[in-house]
Subunit: 921 residues, 2 copies
Amino acid sequence: MAEKKWVYLFNEVEAAEKAAGDWEGVRALLGGKGAGLADMTRAGVPVPPGFTVTTEACNAYLAQGGKFPPGMWEQELAALKEVEKQTGKKFGDPSNPLLVSCRSGAKFSMPGMMDTVLNIGLTDKTAEGMIQKTGDARFVYDSYRRLVEMFGSVVLGIPDEAFEEPLAEYKARKGYKTDTDMTAEDWKAITEEFKAVVKKYKGFDFPQDPYEQLRLATEAVFKSWNGKRAVDYRNAAGIAHDLGTAVNIVTMVFGNMGWNSGTGVAFTRDPSTGEKKLYGDYLLNAQGEDVVAGIRNTEKIEKLSEQLPEAYREFLQITEKLERHYREMQDVEFTIENGKLWMLQTRAGKRTAKAAVKIAVDMANEGLITKEEAVLRVSPEQVDTLLHPQFDPKAMEEAKSSGKHYAKGVNASPGAAVGQVYFDANTAEKMAKEEKQSVIMVRPFTKPDDVHGMLAAKGILTSEGGATSHAAVVARQFGVPCVVGASEIRIDLEKRQMEANGVVVKEGEWISVDGTTGNVFLGKIPTTAPKLEEQTDLLTLLQWADEICATPGIRQGWPDRGLQVWANADYPADARRARAYGAVGIGLCRTEHMFFETERLPIVQRMILAETSEERSAALNELLPYQRNDFEGLFEAMDGYPVIIRLIDPPLHEFMPDEEKLLEEVITMRVKGETEGLAEKEALLASIRAMHESNPMMGLRGVRLSIYMPEIVEMQVRAIFEAAANQTLKGIVVKPEVMIPLTGTVKELEWIQPRLERIAKAVMDEKGVIFYYKFGTMIEIPRAAVTAEEIARVAEFFSFGTNDLTQMTFGYSRDDAERNFLVKYVEEGILPQNPFQTLDREGVGRLMSMAVQEGRKARPDLEVGICGEHGGDPSSIEFCHLVGNNYVSCSPFRVPIARLAAAHSALKHRVGEAAKVVEDK
Amino acid sequence: MAEKKWVYLFNEVEAAEKAAGDWEGVRALLGGKGAGLADMTRAGVPVPPGFTVTTEACNAYLAQGGKFPPGMWEQELAALKEVEKQTGKKFGDPSNPLLVSCRSGAKFSMPGMMDTVLNIGLTDKTAEGMIQKTGDARFVYDSYRRLVEMFGSVVLGIPDEAFEEPLAEYKARKGYKTDTDMTAEDWKAITEEFKAVVKKYKGFDFPQDPYEQLRLATEAVFKSWNGKRAVDYRNAAGIAHDLGTAVNIVTMVFGNMGWNSGTGVAFTRDPSTGEKKLYGDYLLNAQGEDVVAGIRNTEKIEKLSEQLPEAYREFLQITEKLERHYREMQDVEFTIENGKLWMLQTRAGKRTAKAAVKIAVDMANEGLITKEEAVLRVSPEQVDTLLHPQFDPKAMEEAKSSGKHYAKGVNASPGAAVGQVYFDANTAEKMAKEEKQSVIMVRPFTKPDDVHGMLAAKGILTSEGGATSHAAVVARQFGVPCVVGASEIRIDLEKRQMEANGVVVKEGEWISVDGTTGNVFLGKIPTTAPKLEEQTDLLTLLQWADEICATPGIRQGWPDRGLQVWANADYPADARRARAYGAVGIGLCRTEHMFFETERLPIVQRMILAETSEERSAALNELLPYQRNDFEGLFEAMDGYPVIIRLIDPPLHEFMPDEEKLLEEVITMRVKGETEGLAEKEALLASIRAMHESNPMMGLRGVRLSIYMPEIVEMQVRAIFEAAANQTLKGIVVKPEVMIPLTGTVKELEWIQPRLERIAKAVMDEKGVIFYYKFGTMIEIPRAAVTAEEIARVAEFFSFGTNDLTQMTFGYSRDDAERNFLVKYVEEGILPQNPFQTLDREGVGRLMSMAVQEGRKARPDLEVGICGEHGGDPSSIEFCHLVGNNYVSCSPFRVPIARLAAAHSALKHRVGEAAKVVEDK
């Protein structure tokens, strides 16, 4: 029987494959690094020769209490002989010494394992030989002292300080500031000092036998597998303890051996634009450190074609090969030693969002990767940065260094905004609309009746509130850049100015607000504003994403396709933007937003305060045409696509004037003895007070309000169906879906839905048309999730209102929680993240999962969506995919992000073998 | 093969049992009524002879499209012959006619089935014979016309009016007012008129063949099984449509056949006291109707021993036998015909709560029933009425008829209260404490800072709010009679008076408030105030109830015993009452109630407003001795029993002065230009405003507050453990359990619990004692229920806070919901009941069930309780039993009710065969 093979040369990858069965086995046998070096070698890439001692050898060593298994050391020596042949150098030969590095390499990259030891093979004798050969004594002694230091600390376990202190003292004695001041003689002296350290700590001399160096280094790697840090890491990461680590022995190469040597780094494509051309720098007669340190000016990689044309040609071929081999843009390190090119490392290169998109699309078009892989190569966050205006990075740096940085808050809604400061919604709107100014609206915090100002503004800045405050939510919804909670800023609404760190900004002055980073600057910073329709690569990628989601069978069960992406849109303009961004439905139209408009609000208030049903009807009849008109616009924009319209949701007092302000007025008038208009104000105050609720979030709203006062929703349903009928008659394909909010028990639906369906049918009869429609409900009350089976017997669709569902499942009032304890909770790790931004899968998610499963028991093809803010968050989108949603609905601005996230979810969790490909990534 | 048996004589019950297999089968075969009559006959009770045509005959008749099955009619005739033999009378024989009644009787009592037809067998000829025999023509013609009328309407389907109108006309013609004016001749004439009605409507004569009468009546009963009302009822009640109905033919007996005849009703025990003695009335020479109508004065049943001693002796024997047979106090009807006693009906007798308890205990002591049956014979509601003071029913009636009824509201907390009216908490408390007055506190509604007045009052009356308003909840908690939402009343706090229906009641005037019925009276109504310790029968019954719950194995799984009953108690006095009422633990001590006391509140406010941690510590150090002292009292009262102490729960602003009132003061001062003290008030207002929350129920409270400001709970835990240690040193056995409220994620517990446990251990070290303790949590947030497995890894016990859990599962703010929509929801059937009174099993209950199951996955012996108000509600207690709770905790006043309800639950759902016994009931 043949002896067990413990050692594989880099060029023996086929043998390793045979022994290990498959590539997964090779990675287990040789470790990740060893497998990678062998793989490059096989691909014909010039990798410095070397070999790997297997993980099995490590395990055998440890199992036998620290003894090399029989034959291993002999195989290692034989492999070294082979490397000597391949390099033409000889280990320990002073005339042409072979130097090697020794590196650990387990199957999974793992901190806590032994670091690299470089320059193994250097001894007093070989050092002299090297000097002879290179003529560079400084280089050789620098290398030698590094070996002694690394070997001492890493292999022999001598504390780092034992080496650092004598060096520091030496430099102090000489008056040197940096290592570059050190001469050959200095490094030689240090080498001697380091050797003395070894003797002092270990009682024996630094080994002058290179084989002894090699043996000890190999053992040190093996032992480090059971070091405390490595064991702790494996416990934490759930990695098995019996994998063992491999040992890689690699020939040292040097780029500083003269002017036909050199070293450099390069990307196979432009990492900032994605353009397909080599991009990098190099230096001749230099070491890797020199390129990084920036002591000498590097050359552009193209220049190498003039300086070392042959090496350059080879480099071009190799990088192309590597990119093809790894099917990914590569970031490579190389060294040229005496004209001979060596590749030292290759890995996937970092890139900008723009480059990521272009590279992914180009590579798919080149046939290098599939469309699916292209889609997976771009993250939703990268798409996000591509869609919001950004400040020019250089200009931002300049502003910082020139003292124009004003304050920092929470980056609530990404994008860059430049404008003039205004301190209230009315002025902001007026300045934007009448004066056509760019406006930044600045408030301590915002409220629903500030929305008109916020919509008119280019950016929003608040001194209070967190990432889910009203300002933040509205800003994200409408894609307005926004910074909240900039607590350094003191706003003085009476003086119409703000102050931070002693700098006062008056109303009308210019500032720049960066919603992406949370920074606020004085004055104007130039921005770049990308447009989706111009980003053809992104459009292509998103189309591929949609195709993936539309693939039948990509998901198990029903629906068997991926998620669709719909948008939340209240106005026709929103709907048009949603379509342009690729939404294939409206998941939420909030009808009450229409009530807040200036000309309508007084009618709404009249309706609310009506004392007779005639008065109420009259007011509702006035509102009907407004609503119908809004809906007509929506249906037109969404021709052929479903439009979910939610019936009135908020409590009525939200439409009324502020109670406290009115109270102040009344008290003031009383104390002053002013009587004119007092009675009316008192009556209004009394009415508003009667509506007061101690916890309005959980009070008379949603379907409860509809049952309490059905006239409003009856009007709304009439408006919806009249609009739909009118548009049908014009040839538009309408698909209205009426959504009832805040359902907690099926009995609520049983009470209200038939009343509303009668109206729907009546309108269709009146108009003589028939069209598709549905009645459904939001699932936003925990009880609705728990009793979803019953509810689905009546409701034709579900839409998760995860904002409220999160509030009630956690028992958090969002406004209060974010102001009070949520920040601390996230800081202290009590919550992994703000559950209003990223779905809480364990709690809220479990209720969602129950609701979908139970709901589909009653109605197997139940349409399920989400219209909470989570609909635009990639992690939450993934969860919606897993739960079995049909679609997610989000702000129009987040539709592209959601489309990509939906495709990622579909691919990551696709049925069958494809799953494996993705996991490997 | 023998012919199928379709007809069973009452004395053939053994044959029926043989055919049907068991008693259940007999009831199915003969119907409930037939089985009962046969059962009495077998027991030797003189039941008028008769027989039953089986339900199978009915089904066969219907299946064959309205044909008697072969042999049935012949069997009916044969049975009739047997009855003739038993009675010595002959059907259709003018000289001694047998008359019978015909009654339907399905397995389950069922409205919509055919009514009774009496006097079948009367014809022109037999009527004459009857007159000859009885000499009472009026009686005979009255009976005859009744037969024609009943037969006509019930059997022949002629409308009732067809008979009612001619009779009314006749009486009008004669100038008669009532039927008693009718003479024999009159009834004879009416009989003729009725016969003409039959001829007119049906085209044939009223059958003069008694067998024809019998045949048609039998068919009519069969057909009525498929009548619309019967089918509808079966659909609604979920009764199978293939059961069929039986037909009972019973010999008529008459108590008006002379002075050795008579009729009466009696109870086997006194239905108002429960005393074991016959209790009833009778009349000689009279019909049942005469006893009920009260035309003649009835005699006490004892008198019968003088008038008809033999019949009386037999009656005594029979009633005793019936009670023994049915093992229950019986309500019987009897008739004596010519000295011969006949029992016409026996059924369980209705009784007062007091009688129910005495009868149950007596019967168990007599060996008639088991203790378990005794416990089941008394309902928790009956116990409730025994424990609250009640108005004397007669006095209440008199008050109503003399115009002293003042208003009616919601019966929020049972019991009767008489006192002088005061309109605010301070005055109410002062009058009660200093002037020793009986006080009724009257407010539009109450708030937490009214509690001291409410506790001092004998009764509470509000004009607003519902059954779970603050007033109602507090009143129930403390057992104070309370009527809320008496909306007729207008309270004028400035004039110190109230007005309802024009009647003004000024402060200090007397009223009587009936929390049991919701009625309010002017003046004083006498009350009766029972004491538990004097109700020895009830104490016995409750002890039996406790024994049942303590039976090992009575429940499957863990715990295998029934529920324990603990009490919610904040003060030592509450705890002592809880013990007296039989609580074996404190399930909830609300530490914050201690903060509201007059001398402590300023310290609490100082603590809240502290700007430095030194200030806060100083205030907390002042509070510590108060809390320790309270806890010492609790531990002493609960020596040997567990005491669950909940750490601070409400948001801090609840301890602060009213924001709006302060705002008014500040504005007034500003407008008037008053500056003295303004700055302090403004600062205080600003502090309170900073604490304002839009939905305080879901804000900074519970464990969130403890994490935000740990100093308070640290002080509380120190106070708890110092108190426990001090009492341990005195020889008291303490079992403190520290409860953390409002947990939503296990991370909250992981953050706070170790900090608190360190304090607990430190105190025990300081004092040098060791005692049992636990740390646990409330489950009142939906997310906690959903993630209970994780939470139970840290929490050592769960206590369901079903008030909050209901709020959040439904998304109802209780205060707002009850005022706004909850009443309508219950009225409209959207909710079956107020979920704050009776647990919503489908929604909230499902979360509870999940929580127990998941929690015990992590901690199999997890102690689970409930401390919400539902802990005192019988239906909710049953659900807690089913879910696997260890105990329920409720107001001390409801402990006896809960003990009984717990035993009922245990018996109703006990493991194994015993379950059947209970179902039969």
